[in-house]
Each structure stands twice: as structure tokens, then as C-alpha cells.
Assembly symmetry: D2
Homo-oligomer: 468 residues x 4
């Protein structure tokens, strides 16, 4: 739930609803619960069985939608999309869901993840005479759907997703159907909820709570679920599947009260904290977290340590529109503006600060300075994940390799840069040990070890071209 500027900033949250007369309101509430997955723009498309309605806008969910807007999104089917982007493409054209007309009627899609072969797919499509109005993967996918020669929309989507590679959790809306699909590795989460006869898909289960829906299970890797008035049907559209869930969803990104990949995020984070305390103990008086994303991990660390859990940093939650604007100039100001130190807690103490990850290191460096200023005798940092050394090409928009602080620096060099008394990272092994099931072999750890489950060759070529 932390959106510090040290953390990945281009991600998405998606929702799909079928069967409620208030489908768009449910979607709105779901998006609201998934606000942490994207604060830049938000959109909903709904179907009343005849026509697909749409509303999109820049800003927070609660700013983009109001009572009047939701009333103009009638129908029993809806999909929604939250988005946040640091790239130049933060324009209104790219706000999801994207909705188009094609041979079989109107279709919309919301996408969480990142395709690794969208560049070549666009090229091929353009060669065949296609035009593109956005720079989104969603548009590529819809082109493939429309180009398919198969007869039904399910078949068309099925053919389309067999051509795309990378990470994708997708919800489609048509006049009368809601369709969800997940890639063969299940990189990004996608859960199924149910309330009476209605079905809900959402990036995280926290989206079910406000509407009091029940969490059924996850969409399986390679699975397509088709919901229409006859109910929900499952089809395996991608045969060869190997789960490679994003470990970072547990470490940092998802909301603690959500279940993803079949487990409570909160529980896993506590375990990460405990493992960290055992593997990388520290002599300190108090344990503090970087609120809010590290709170549970810090509690876990404290449980296995002598040091007491204390609230040493307060986060300011009134940051407002300025912060969410992607073109901010006064970076440092905004960092300072975000946290306040609690002098009474920190003064004259040896402090161990638990954080979930370090990306660029700028925010945490600033925090260390302030904690010392508040009187801390020692500052130790413990991180519940290994050093991030490789960019993510599956939807977690880390900066370029060059900007990652752990790229080409030893842990002691980073410690020196941050100005701390000690710095320790949890090992890859012990991080995976905290993951539910199978000791973590079902997880993608590419950002830590460079083992990319899906080839990123095309991405690297494209990056190289852009530099030259």
C-alpha cells in the first residue's frame, strides 16, 4: 500500500463483475479497494445487454467517479481498471479499459501485466494494415481478437492469448459476456469471487470485501473463464503452464488484507519478518517499519527479536493531487513531505528499521537522515527481500538497471551510501521459504536473480534501439 517513489510505479488493478444490476457500482467499489495498484487514472465500462458504456478519467477512483457518472454506466456487466505510470505515456488516450467495435460487436478489456512481445506483434499487425490509437498492450490484444478467423468471441480471445507472451491477467466485456484469462505462469494475481448468482473477478480479494462477496479461488494459469447468463464455464486455453507467481506481490505490492496466490499477504509478510530476524538479527532497542507496507514484516521481525515494535515513522496521508501527478518537479520536497519521525520513540535508541525492498534508495536514504536527526543512536536496516538487481518485464515497472541501487554495488557499498550502521537483506532462499506452498518454487524471482521465465530478448533489443 506504499507508493513511495522508491517503489515500482507502473502497475494496474482490474475488476470484472457479471450478474449484478449494480455492476458498475460494484466495480467502482472494487477499484476503490485496489487504489494502491494504480492512482493515476481509472475507468469503467459497463454493458446493459445492448450497448457498452464507458467513463474514464485521470485521478483517484473517488475523483473520477461520482453518483451521476455511475448512473450513466448501467447494466449487469462491468469491468474496471486502475493505472499508474511514470512513463511519458501517461496520457488520457491510454486510460483503460479500452473499448472497441469489431466484427462481432463491441468488446472491452482491462489488463494487468506486461507483454514481452507486444512490439513485434504491433509490427506484424501494422504490416497487415492495422492502425493503433494508443501505446497499450490492451489495444494489441484487441487487434488480435478482432483478426481471429474463429467464430465465437471465446475462440477469438483464446486464439489471441495464445499469441501473446509475458504477464497478463485480463478481463473482457462484451454485450452479454464477461471473460477472464490469465497467462500460463500466473505472474499477476486474479481472484474469483461470488455473491449469490453474481461473479466478480479482481486483482486482489480485498476488492470483494466492500461488496461482501465470497472468495472462491484464483483463475488458474492458462485458464479462461466465461461468464454469461447460463453461468460460469472454465476452459484451459493455454496448455503448458508452470506457475511463476510474482514474489514481489507478497513482499510489497498487494494489500495486507488480500489473499493472493491462495494465501493472506499479511501472513506471508509476518513470516518474511520472522525469517529475517532469524537470518539477519540485529542488536537494537526497537524495531520500526517504513509505513504502511512494512508494518506486518516489522511486527514479525520484532516477534523473533529482543527489540520492541514501535511506531517511529508517521506517514502523511493528505498528500493530494500534487503527489499523484506524474510530472512532479520538486522530488525531494515530496519525499520529505511524506514521513514524520516520532522523536519520543527514536531519541537515544538503537533502531532497526524493517523495509520490504530497496529500489533506488533515495527515499530510504532521506529517512535514515531524519531518524538520526530525531536522536537515534544507531540505525540498522533489514530488508525482507534480496537486493533488486534486474528490471521486471512482467508488469512491475522498476526503473532501468542503471538506476537500481543494488546493480553493481555490494551490500556494504549500499550501506555506506545510505549512511546506516548496518544493512542486511533476506536471502533468496529464506524469502522463498516464507512463500506459501512448495518452498517457493512456483515463484518468479527474476528481479533478484535474473532468471526470466519468459524470454525478454525482444524487450532488450527494443531498449537497446531506444538508446542508440
Amino acid at each position: 500500500m506504499n507508493n513511495s517513489i522508491d517503489k515500482p510505479e507502473d502497475y494496474c488493478g482490474i475488476v470484472g463483475v457479471f450478474g449484478s444490476p449494480e455492476a458498475s457500482i460494484w466495480t467502482y467499489l472494487g477499484l476503490y479497494s485496489l487504489q494502491h495498484r494504480g492512482q493515476e487514472s481509472s475507468g469503467i465500462a459497463s454493458s446493459d445487454g445492448e450497448k457498452i458504456h464507458k467513463h474514464l478519467g485521470m485521478g483517484l477512483v473517488s475523483d473520477v467517479f461520482d453518483q451521476n457518472v455511475l448512473e450513466e454506466l448501467p447494466g449487469h456487466i462491468a469491468i474496471g481498471h486502475n493505472r499508474y505510470s511514470t512513463t511519458g505515456s501517461s496520457n488520457e488516450q491510454n486510460i483503460g479499459p479500452i473499448v472497441v467495435n469489431h466484427k462481432l460487436g463491441t468488446i472491452g478489456v482491462a489488463h494487468n501485466g506486461n507483454l514481452v512481445n507486444s512490439h513485434s506483434l504491433r509490427g506484424k499487425l501494422e504490416d497487415r494494415g492495422s492502425i493503433f490509437q494508443t501505446t497499450t498492450d490492451s489495444e494489441v490484444i484487441l487487434h488480435l481478437v478482432a483478426k481471429s478467423w474463429r467464430n465465437s468471441i471465446e475462440e477469438k480471445i483464446s486464439e489471441a492469448v495464445q499469441q501473446i507472451e509475458g504477464a497478463f491477467s485480463l478481463v473482457f466485456i462484451t454485450k452479454d459476456k464477461l471473460i477472464a484469462v490469465r497467462d500460463q505462469h500466473g505472474f499477476r494475481p486474479l481472484a474469483i469471487g461470488k455473491k449469490k448468482d453474481s461473479f466478480i473477478f479482481a486483482s486482489e480479494t480485498c476488492a470483494f470485501d466492500l461488496i461482501e462477496a465470497e472468495y472462491i479461488r484464483d483463475v488458474k494459469p492458462g485458464e479462461m473463464l466465461i461468464v454469461d447468463k447460463k453461468g460460469m464455464k472454465s476452459r484451459q486455453v493455454i496448455e503448458k503452464t508452470t506457475p511463476k507467481h510474482c514474489v514481489f506481490e507478497f513482499v510489497y505490492f498487494s494489500r495486507p488484507d488480500s489473499q493472493i496466490f491462495g494465501e493472506y499477504v499479511d501472513k506471508t509478510r509476518r513470516k518474511l519478518g520472522k525469517n529475517l530476524a532469524e537470518e539477519k538479527p540485529s542488536e537494537a532497542d526497537i524495531v520500526i517499519s517504513v509505513p504502511d507496507s512494512s508494518n506486518t514484516a516489522a511486527l514479525g521481525y520484532s516477534a523473533r527479536s529482543e527489540a520492541k515494535y514501535e511506531i517511529g515513522l508517521i506517514r502523511n496521508h493528505y498528500i493530494g493531487r500534487t503527489f499523484i501527478h506524474p510530472k512532479q518537479k520538486i522530488r525531494d520536497m515530496n519525499v520529505l513531505i511524506k514521513y514524520n519521525t516520532v522523536g519520543g520513540v527514536l531519541n537515544d535508541r538503537r533502531v532497526v528499521m524493517v523495509d520490504d525492498s530497496i529500489v533506488r534508495g533515495t527515499t530510504i536514504k532521506g529517512l535514515v537522515k531524519r531518524i538520526r536527526k530525531a536522536g537515534a543512536k544507531e540505525v540498522h536496516i533489514r530488508v525482507t527481500s534480496p537486493p533488486i538487481k534486474y528490471p521486471c518485464y512482467y508488469g512491475m515497472d522498476f526503473p532501468t538497471k542503471e538506476e537500481l541501487i543494488a546493480n553493481g554495488r555490494s551490500v556494504s557499498e549500499i550501506a555506506k551510501y545510505l549512511g546506516v550502521n548496518s544493512l542486511e537483506y533476506l536471502s533468496l532462499e529464506m524469502m522463498l521459504n516464507a512463500m506459501p506452498k512448495d518452498n517457493g518454487q512456483n515463484y518468479c524471482t527474476a528481479c533478484f536473480d535474473g532468471n526470466y521465465p519468459v524470454s525478454i530478448k525482444e524487450c532488450l533489443t527494443k531498449e537497446k534501439e531506444q538508446k542508440d
Copy 2:
């Protein structure tokens, strides 16, 4: 320049500039001068040789653009579009210019006119797997361009415009070219201007005045003009051409200080007024106009009549955003709010009011009431065009046939409905007599006599389907 709700309300103004370092500002000024051709939304796309930039918005030109916005539209090429629409499609997605990526790069287009075969073209494109994000003709045209197998962008556009039918004046922008095309009948105007080495295209020549460019000539029916750094080249892309200029551009729509179809609008309107006075005289004390579109015609009428020209109606120009909003509810209020009667002029007089056309008749009926209230002894109406009995399918968005007051009503029935002492229309013959060149045989008069130069069969079928 009149945008009374009795008049056609779905039209466009377009501009294109090549060769000025301030191309987007020139385009802005051009659009500003063409504001009367569309007040609902406005957009500009510019090219700096590398990238195409775009800004669109709902509202008047002066509201959509400001200094900051124009600075983010750099480059020496730009196209612009004003639009107004009464149909449900007045959403932001449809604001022009529309810009897309295709095989050869980025391309944008601004369109004035209306295609009669867009429905079937969309169908064919969708059958071949194309997707549509808007309901505009522009998107159909860009699909055809992208689908063309020819090599150069000129060839592709050329192939595309050979497939479309109806009225179209088009300006295209690419990374390094500005291209203008006009349909084989030249329904809508499109003029070429020049300032030093820069070229400007615009719907009307009034767009040249603010930037002090010189009017060269019109784009010819079926002609394509390609402007790039080597200068301007002409190609005839449609062979069989028969001029069928929209007579209504002279009668009502264009700005009096513009030259269209090679003649000053103002001059033609004066002639219309004179012809009207000779063909349909009236015994009256004073001649008044419905400001502002009928001013010159009323002057012309007065010149051939005993009655003096007077200013009997004042138009309120501070109507503001409310009026331009397409979903207005309080129709009558806005009509009343628009004109005030000058008591000192009208009282105790026999008044002949010259108007350019009567569409639905509701505004003029209201005006007659108010003129009588101001003390006029008699009210006579003289119209500088024949009764409008047929919808326009070439870009002048008259209401449906059923809503046209002259549809199925005799002139005396209309006179009775309006509550006037007499009502007379100019004959088709004498209207055409006022047109420049060839006694008007180069003009489209479909809205008066139902002779549609391009088959509207597909439009009628579509209308019928929508009703059923």
C-alpha cells in the same frame, strides 16, 4: 455565423499548416476564425519532424487552448479541427483530429463533410478484422489508408479516398508532410493560403486573415496537395469530377468575410437579398435582419426596396458555456435569451424580416411573437432560399425530414404556423442566379429539390434499420 437552434448544428472547420515554426499557433488562430463552424470541441495535432503531438478538448477554441498547451504542440506542421454535434456521439473519444500509428509511422486527419458509404466500409473493414474506437468517418479513412498496399503515404491516401463516397475536405498530417484532399464534387470548401514559404489550408479564407496569409486558390474537386520541405505538389487523385458546391455555405453557413468557391460570401448574400426583393417584394416601412447571418442579405433587400434597413433585433453574444452544451433541456429559455427587440425601431412599423433559411421554424416563430410585442403593425418574412424539404447527407446536419417545417407543408401553412402577415421564399432559380459563375449549375441543391449528386441509398437503408 448564426448558430441558432433552428439551423444545422453538426459541422466542422479544419485547418492545416506547413512550414511555420509556430504551426500550432497559426492553426489555433485559424480554428479561432472558424469557430462558427463548430463550437463543441476543438483539437490540434502538430509534428516537429520526429513525433506527432496532440491536444483535444471540449469547448471553444479559446477555452481548449492556452499558452502552455500550445507550447506543448511544437513543430512546423499542424492540423486542427473544430466540431459541433447534436447526436449522441458528442463524446471526447470523437474529438478530432484523430491520430493513429500505422505501418509507415504516425498519421492524423481532420475531416469536414460526411461520407455516405462509411457504414458499409466499416462493415467490410470489420469483416477483415479491423477494430474501431470512435464512430467518426475519420477513423474509417485512416483504416483505409493503413490497409492500402501501396508504398508511399500519398499513394495510400490516394487509394483510400478513391473508396470513400460523399463529402470530404481532408487535411492529413504525417511526421514530415501535410496533405490536403477534396472530394470529386467539392461539396465543402477548402482554400489554400500562403505566407512566405509556408502553406495553409482552411475551410474558409477568413482563417488566413489573422495570420496575414494570402489566399491563393481553392483545392480543386478530386485534387490532392502534398506539402513537404520540397514545396507543394498537386495530383489529381479522383478523375471524374463535377463541381457540386454546397449552396448553403453561401446562403447561411460561411462567414461573410470569407471567400469560398472563389467568391466573397458577403457579395453573394447581398445578391440573394437583391434577387429576393425583386422576386418577392413587400409593402413595408423597414427591413430588418435576423442577426448576424442575414445582415448582408437584408442590406441587399433594402437596396432594391422602398423599405429602409434598420437594426430591429439585437443578438446577445454572452451566452456562454451553457448554450454550447449539447444536452440542453430548457430550449425555449435559450431562444428567448438570444435576441432582444429594439422597441424604438419596430413600434408602429410594417416590418419585413429577411432570414436566410427556415429549418424547424421554432426560433423564427418566437421572434415573430416578440416583434409583434414590440409594437410592429405587420410582420412579413422573406427568405433568401427555397423551402428546405430534404435532409443533407453531405455534412450539413439538418434534422430528420419529419422535423423540417417545409416537409409536407405549403408556404401558406408555414406562414400561418409562424403567425406572419406574409411569407415568401426565394425561388431555386433566383437563388442559383445569385451564385457566382455559370448561373449556379455547379451547386448542390439537394436539400431544396432532393436531387442528391451522390447516391444516398446506404444512408436511407441505415435510417430505416434504426427506426425498425
Copy 3:
């Protein structure tokens, strides 16, 4: 109705309504009709008998108010205020009407005019411990009302207006009364209208037309009118009265369809034009006006001249918010943006352009350039008033003496500056000859001859202090 930047720009329009259940809507419509008297801000205060409600905002009447806003202004009494200001004081605090609480309850006021002793009155009030939240005359007046020891609100207002000097047409609102007062010279207009049992006060009678009220008579100089549920009562609150109506209201400022000072503006302007043609003829082919304020005068000129009336300049009415913003930087742009020349009319003609007045001369100089550019062989200017040489301290906010083009320049010097073939002004005598009644002896001509009916000593002192 012209608000060119050559013209005075700090003025007001006021409205008051008693007795309609839709008092605020009537006031809104009145303000809308008086939009030409102030485009910067607008406000309405209404009373439902219990409480006074208020809404104010920057912008045009139609932008400040909408259906929702008007519904929150309930009651049968309302006053309204339009304002425009070039001075630094264009802040939201100063938007009228100003409403305050005092001993007897709540009271609001809208003011048209300018006090010449407000500076010393403020000083005296401050010496006695008063505080000021705005820089308006209205607040001074309300302080005087509140400070009065008399018992009734009528008596208090009466005492207050006996202390203020200069130009004031005022409407007051209290919980249960509407009160109108005019200064002893009747500088600014203030008319009384009636519709059934309701009374309406307005700066000009054009405000009565939209609500179909009947014009009764003007508020007399020095008269107070009190309207409450018992009806309308008149009291003479200032004994010594000498009519000194602002001649400039007829010449330029008021709307042509209004009656002010007992006569149609339009009629007087036609007479001004006729007098001008007779006194200052010209050898020309055509007469054109500077639209819209000089239209009638040009018609009058043409009637007494050989030259035909033509429409040679078209005014652009879509200028939008940018123009009304008082801090505009790109002055020249906005001047150019405002008028277009009709080439077909002007080319190869000897043109006489009739204008109502010349203040700074910058706009007209630009117009002359453009008319020549359009091909005019000769340009002659005829002005329906004498040279403006002295600032107005009674509510017509001319610039400082130094900025007036006629200050210290002969007519031939001005002609040279403007670049015209000839320039002639109507004489003071012939201007007054066109005024209704008594050959104009009831008019203030201070801006032409420096004869100020009310001492401006305090204003001059203040100006001097500000310079030093």
C-alpha cells in the same frame, strides 16, 4: 455593447426584484441582459423572508449561475450585480453584492457608479474603529447605514446616502424589503419595472424584456423607493437635485434596445449619426461602423450622406474566457482577434468609419491598418462625440489623463497617429442637441469639457498621493 479595450472597462449593472417567487431567476435574467455592463464577475443575493442567501463568482452570468445554484437562492426578493474592473482590485472579495450583518439584521447592496468621497469616509470610519474587508464603495455605504442612529432601515439608508458624494444607483436587500436610491444628479440610469404585483429595478430597461415586465419610469435623482409587502413607497431623500445624466451612456455604454433617461438609446444614437453627417460630412463611397456599439450611429450617418451603409467589419463573438480575464498579457493579439474585415466590401472604396468615441486609440489604429490592408482607397473616421480629454470620476473608468489620446493632442495630430485620411469629431453642441429633452442641459459632459458637477478634489489628491 462593445467592450473593446479602447473603451472604459470598469462599470456595473445592477438589478433588484421584489414579489416574485422566482426572484433570483428574474435577477439572473436581468443580469444576463446587462452583461455588457460588466463581464468579470457576477453575484446575486436573495431573501426568503428569514435569511439572505448569496452566490458570487468570477466570469459571465451564464457561467457563474446554473440551475442548482439558483435553487439555492430561494425567496421573493433578490438583488444582483455585474462587475468589470481593470484595476488590481479584481479579486473575489470585491464581487458584489456585498452582504453584511448589522444591528437590524442582514443587509446587502449592489452599487453602480463611483463615490468621490469614499476615501475620506473610509478614513473617518476607520478612525472610529471600523474595519474593511473589501476596497468597494459598497462596504463604505453599508458601514454608514450600520452606524446610523436612526431607527428604521429606510432612515438609516437615507442618512447614509446623504453623506456620500458622487455617482450612485443603489439597490438594497433586507430580510423583507427592497430599497432603491439614486444620487442627486442621476448620473447612472436606474429604471423601475413592474409585472403584476412584482417590482423590478434595473440599470437599463433591456433587463425587463426577458421577464416581460413593463417599464414604468426611472428612479428620480435623490429619490428612494421602498418596496415591501405593502407595495412601493417613494421618498425624496436628497433635496437639492440637478439632473446631470451621463451622456456617455447614450453615446456608447447602454444597450441600443434599452430606454435610459426616458428615451431609447437606439434613437439617440441615430440622431448622433445624423448630426455628425451634417456637421462633419465626408466624401466617401461607403459608411461602416465599428460593431456593435456604432451600428445605429453609422446607419444615421448614412441616412444623411451620399455614402451607403455597409458591413465592413465583422466582430468575433467567441472570444471566451481568455478575453474577460483582466490580466491579459498578449494585448495586441486580442485586438486582432476581435475584428475581421470584409474584403469584398472595402476593396477599392473610400470608406468612412463611424465610431462612438476614441479613448486610447490603440484599437482603432489597428482597425485602420486592417481596413487599408483590405484594399480601401481612403479611410475617414467620424466620431459621434467630442474628444475625451478628462477622466470620469463618476463610474465610467476611463484611463488616466495621460493615457487619453485626445489629452494634449490636436485633432490633426490624432488623425496622423491613427493613419487616416481625415478625422472629425461631433461638436459638444451637436452631441447635446441629439440628447432627449432640453437640448442636453441635463447632462454631464465632464469627460469632454472638464466641468465636473460634483467636486473631484479628493480624487485628485488621492491620485497625486499615489504617484508621489
Copy 4:
């Protein structure tokens, strides 16, 4: 830092700066840190030695101000005000600081607190002819300042504050001075900070942290501090002083990282939690807080209890503009939207939830329902303060007595209403025991025991009148 709708909602935060060339930016940063004290509107007034500049607006600090706005607030002196109000008076007119002109020049004031005799003071002032444009206490105070016959501004303010009764922490700005005053009981906090030669006043010390100023001491009850270019001077303007600090500032309102009344808020809250655990233990598995205001108290409770501290509720911080709007209709929706329950933590546990206070009880009732739904076996509530039975007339805008859940209800009745297994409040004695110094005899506990240190007779009379 909690602004749940169960909590008092009409309060203020104030800041004053003298001596920084960036006074308005410092003030902005201070207000930003004090955002929790008022989210409805914000304003800053600054002085450049010549003129006082001002900017006010509805919304969060970061929305009201941006770079441009701050640049138009030049000078080395500034004061600022955050405000939140549930009453009808949430209009723009009432936004602070209020700035007026009076005899000695311009003066502005920002006020935190509530006067108990403003009604009679207004009455007396109106009797003497004063007018009021707002309904704020600030305007009353400025009237008294202006009415004072003393010579210097210090003397005038001094005389003014001797007439007002109730709670007031005030900062005044003049052309060249910054003046701070606090009432004789020191109800509301007001701290003095210093950075080099600059002085800063702020409601809480957290406002000093962003600008890295040093906390010196508090303004003493009855003390006036005058800062000008000669430095800071202290004067005791009210002689008889008895500290009666608002205990609720410690219990709930202030930010945990602030020092108020000479102690860290955080420290006191931890002690409240510990006292509560000792006085009112519970048999439970886990202790959770109602985030964020009860976090530290819950930690303290856990430290003296068997139950582990856990994070069982997650607060949503993306609530946006809708929530801060004072006229919200869908109350319940917004309550639900605010908190999510962490299922993994709560399921199958006996939960003790620590809260700082219960006002209306509606939010907490909703929370209890959700905690049970998340699987909790038992829900116990422990409150770190006694039942609130009496309204506050000193600036903490509790609802009316009738709306207070503890008014006329026993603890067991409240427990039943909330649906909890047990409910216990901390005793008055043990709450005061947790306060710094003197076992709490310097604190106002009126909301708990009805002992009002300053007579509230006038308030009760006014309330009664309003009901009748």
C-alpha cells in the same frame, strides 16, 4: 490523525512565520503538517513589509496552494489557517485567515479555539454600528482590535483579548509584525519554534519538522509574543491564568509525533494504553487498534497485557475529495469504505480493540460487525478515555449532547448497542494519571465530567433560543 465521522470535526490548525524570505512556503509546509487539524479549507496571508497578500481556498493544503500561488504570497511574514467544519457555515466567506483594513493599516488573524461570548460581543458591536461579513470569531476579535482606543497594535490586541472569553490560540499579521496570543487557560496548544533568526508559531511542533526549525517552548497561557525586526518580545496580557489544557488533544486530536503542552503526544498515548491495560484488562489473543489515532495506545495496552499487538484493520487513505466534502449524503458507504479487516489476523481470535474515544458510536459499531464477519470469536473494546457526556465549547466540535452515545446510557447499554462481548473505559483518574506533570490537574475534562472552566451560560442560552 483520525478523522472518522465519529470524531469531532470542527477544528483548526494555525501557523505564523516571521523572518524568512520564504515565509509563505514555510507556512504552507506547516499547514501541510497540520492537515489533520482541518481538511476543509486552507488559507495564507503574507506581508512583504508594504502590503498584505492573501490566498484562500476550499480543499486540502496541497490542493489549495501550488507554486504559482505561493509566488504571489511574497514577504518575510506569514500566517496560515486550516479549517474543518460540520456546521452550515462551511462557506468560502469564512475561510481563514481573515484580513481587514483598519485605522492603523491592514491586519489579519488566524484563530484556533472557540469563544464562548462571541454572541454577546457581536451584539454589542452591532449596537455600536459594526457590520459583520462572516460568522467567525476571528471577525469579532478584529472588530475589538479596531475599536480599541489605545495607540499601538499590541495595546489594541491586548485590550481585545481581555474582552474575549473561551479558548483561543491566535496569530496576527500586520505589515511589519507577527503577534501570537493564547487564552488564560491555554486550552489549545501553541508552540514557538526558531530557525536561525526566524520565529515560527504553530498549533503543534510537527509543523516545525519539515522546515527543520527547533522547538523552543509553548506560548504561555495569557501571554502575548510580539515579533518584529527587533526580535521577539513577551508580555503577559492576561493576568490570572490557570492552565486547563484540552486533555483530548493528547487522547485523540494531535499528531503522535508532536509535542504539545510540553510532552510528546505519542508518549502520553502509550501511557494511556498501559494504564488502560492495568485498570481494564481483558482475556484476549490479540490487541488491535483503530488506525491511525489509536496505534500507540494499542501498543501500550499490548505491552501490559498477554495479548499480542496485531494489525487487524487497514485504513484506506485514498478517500479523496468526496469524503472531505461536508455535505455528504451516503454516510454508511463512506464508513465502510474507510477500513478493511485483515482476515488472517482476526479469524478465530479473541480480539481486544483499543480506541481513543467513542463519540456517536456509529463507526465503531460498523467496525465491530466487520471484525466479527472476519471470523473473530470475541470482540472486546477498551477506550483510553472516559465516556464523553458533555459537548465541548472550547473548540472541539462534538455533536450536541443528544447525539453523544454516552449521554444517558450506561456502559453496558453502550456495549449492547455496539454488539461487543465487553466494553470498558479508562477512568478519569487514570486518564489524568497518564498526562504529563501534576497528575493532570492542569487539564480541562469538561467533556467527561461537565466541569467547564469558563462559563458556558451564553452558549446554552443561544442553543436554547435556536431550538425554540
